[in-house]
């Protein structure tokens, strides 16, 4: 047994080393920064938790946190059900399947800057298609001036961008469900909705877990796309946490920026862990992961 355990660690070693180097050293550096006051040209000195408290009291930051939560949970609430629905509608075989797969996957493969640029081009008052549509309905759409417009533009852009991830993952997950389960449900007389609830959804649990975790982490850290489209405006409406963070870093307030990063990180970590535990145990009523 001991030998096999050693073997396991041997297999894990390359991965752990690379990840650890990339993770540990930068992490330590940031932690270091967060506890010091480093002004341009002057030597740095330890100020304990002062950076942290100043961050937590920063109004800008607090509002950004609120906005961020609202944004992330809103997009999750839309993307997950929508993604599942789409995966149910995707053809499984033939030319249609390939074409659909490529089409659905495209938004995921666009560099994030370009996503922002596309949506900017799509929604700008002078360039875009969207304002034209709205004008037909006599609505003066302007993401640069109207807060609600800006907010929903960013949300819809994220939905456009990332729903395919959930759809792709669920598409794969669906194909892993053996036919016999659906046949058994037919024989047991279950309605389509019932079958979805009792057969499909539980068996999508694992792909949904990775999907939801990825989506939560990435949406919570979102930066470049909204910056390209609205620049955080109008005013602060679409200034999410990354935006506040970048401004701090750009102003060379490394201490507070580092502290903010760590608070930011821990919020994501805790919530992800909660998601992870809930989703891993959902429907199995046990602490240990189930064997397939």
């Amino acid at each position: 047994m001991k030998q096999t355990n050693q073997r396991a660690w041997f297999f894990l070693l390359p991965a752990l080393i690379i990840v650890a180097i990339n993770a540990f050293i930068p992490f330590m550096t940031v932690i270091n920064y967060s506890f010091i006051d480093k002004l341009q040209g002057l030597p740095s000195f330890w100020i304990g938790l002062e950076n942290y408290s100043s961050v937590l009291q920063n109004n800008n930051f607090r509002q950004a946190v609120g906005r961020q939560f609202a944004f992330s949970f809103l997009v999750l609430a839309i993307q997950v059900p929508l993604g599942i629905l789409i995966s149910l509608g995707m053809p499984k075989k033939g030319i249609g399947a390939t074409a659909t797969l490529i089409a659905i996957g495209l938004p995921l493969l666009i560099p994030w800057q370009v996503v922002g640029i596309i949506w900017r081009a799509f929604t700008r008052s002078d360039l875009g298609f969207v304002p034209i549509i709205f004008n037909q309905f006599n609505y003066n759409y302007d993401a640069a001036l109207n807060s609600a417009d800006a907010w929903w533009t960013v949300v819809i852009m994220d939905v456009w961008h990332w729903t395919p991830l959930i759809a792709l993952l669920c598409y794969s997950g669906l194909n892993a469900i053996p036919d016999a389960y659906y046949q058994a449900a037919r024989i047991d007389g279950a309605s389509r909705l019932k079958t979805f609830w009792v057969v499909t959804l539980p068996r999508l649990r694992s792909v949904l877990t990775i999907g939801i975790l990825l989506r939560f982490m990435d949406s919570f850290r979102i930066y470049i796309e909204p910056t390209m489209v609205t620049g955080g405006g109008p005013g602060n409406t679409t200034a999410f946490m990354s935006d506040v963070l970048v401004r701090q870093a750009q102003a060379f307030n490394f201490g507070p920026a580092a502290a903010m990063s760590l608070i930011y990180f821990y919020i994501i970590l805790i919530i992800s862990y909660v998601f992870f535990q809930v989703l891993t145990n959902a429907g199995t009523g046990s602490d240990q992961p189930q064997e397939a």
Binding site: P178, A180, A184, I187, D188, G189, P202, R203, G283, G285
Partner: protein
């Protein structure tokens, strides 16, 4: 409980290019325990799906108690099916799994409780009722599947598609016994699909042997054993299976290899095969007139008999001799093929016989 009939059933998965099953005319009487036996790919699973309604046959009709149900869904036919690997609803506990088919039909809760409790008792699931179905072992999960099949009051038949495939060997006999008990107690029509002849022959009163999409023979296990109507049936049933030789007709019998088997009834024509089971070959260590002389290549114990692989007269075949026989490799054995145990086939079916000259 119902009589199931398949009339001229055939099915092609590729629009007529090839047929998974064809020419199927079979009847299962009310309450019979029967088996569909055959090797992988012979079409038995296809047939099962046609009976349960999961598949609509390209041709032919399915009748339940005389009524044409070919167009009906599985739910409407009230036929239950148990699959190769255990299918349970993982998020539900055992009780709710068993109650599932009843709840979908809006059966009142107290009746549900009564039926579920009874079924759980029969299948020995009572201690597990409150546990999540996902956490049980394969054998228990299969019992849950069986339970869902029988929990409905109006189940007409229960179909089993190789249900013991993923069960541990030492639990198989337990489940098989359960199945027989179920049949005795509930009197349901049960059709059991398998490629394992031991399973089929111990469970069923009526066995249908299939190969390459055709139903070759249907009958009681003993009949299939003593009088296989097709070479494949003889070969597939019995362990070891029947010896088969190419045969040509002679005046007083048939010729197999260099040996002439004396018969009073002789088949005519070509494409003949002679079959005789190893246990029916008469053997002796002493020479006899007109018997085939063969050399023992190998003698091995099978069960409680000795099986000898012999060669003689240009033929290779197997003979079963009593366990205490002193036969050893290299010995000479004299055999004959008694007419009453010899089967003659032509073109894969029983040959027509004429009196010998």
């Amino acid at each position: 409980m119902a009589t199931i009939e398949l009339v001229d059933v055939a099915h092609s998965y590729d629009g007529g290019k090839s047929y998974a099953v064809q020419d199927i005319n079979l009847t299962w009487n009310d309450g019979v325990a029967s088996a569909l036996l055959g090797p992988s790919g012979c079409g038995k699973t296809t047939l099962l799906k046609i009976i349960s309604g999961l598949l609509k046959p390209s041709d032919g009709k399915v009748l339940l108690d005389g009524e044409d149900v070919t167009a009906l869904s599985p739910r409407e036919r009230n036929v239950a099916q148990v699959f190769q690997f255990p299918v349970v609803y993982e998020t539900l506990n055992v009780y709710n799994n068993l109650a599932f088919p009843l709840r979908n039909r809006k059966v009142p809760e107290d009746e549900i409780d009564e039926r579920v409790t009874r079924v759980a008792e029969i299948l020995e699931l009572t201690p597990h009722l409150k546990r999540r179905a996902a956490r049980l072992g394969a054998a228990e999960k299969q019992r849950i599947s069986m339970g869902r099949g029988i929990v409905r009051a109006d189940t007409t038949a229960v179909l089993f598609d190789e249900p013991l495939t993923v069960i541990d060997p030492h639990q198989k006999w337990h489940l098989r016994r359960k199945l027989k008990e179920l049949h005795k107690e509930l009197g349901l029509t049960m059709i059991y699909v398998t490629h394992d002849q031991q399973e089929a022959l111990t469970f069923a009163e009526q066995v249908t042997v299939m190969n390459m999409g055709e139903a070759l023979q249907t009958g009681k296990p003993q009949d299939l054993h003593h009088r296989p109507e097709a070479p494949f049936v003889g070969y597939f049933i019995g362990s070891p299976g029947m010896n088969l030789f190419d045969a040509t007709p002679e005046a007083q019998g048939v010729r197999v290899g260099d040996y002439i088997v004396p018969l009073s009834q002789v088949p005519q024509g070509d494409n003949l095969q002679l079959g005789i089971r190893p246990e029916y070959v008469e053997a002796s260590m002493d020479a006899h007139d007109g018997w085939l002389e063969a050399r023992v290549n190998r003698a091995s114990l099978t069960g409680n008999a000795l099986m000898a692989e012999v060669s003689g007269a240009g033929l290779n075949f197997k003979v079963i001799v009593p366990e205490n026989s002193p036969l050893r490799s290299g010995d000479t054995l004299y055999v004959r093929f008694p007419e009453e145990n010899t089967m003659l086939y032509q073109h894969g079916k029983l040959a027509t016989m004429e009196a010998a000259a």
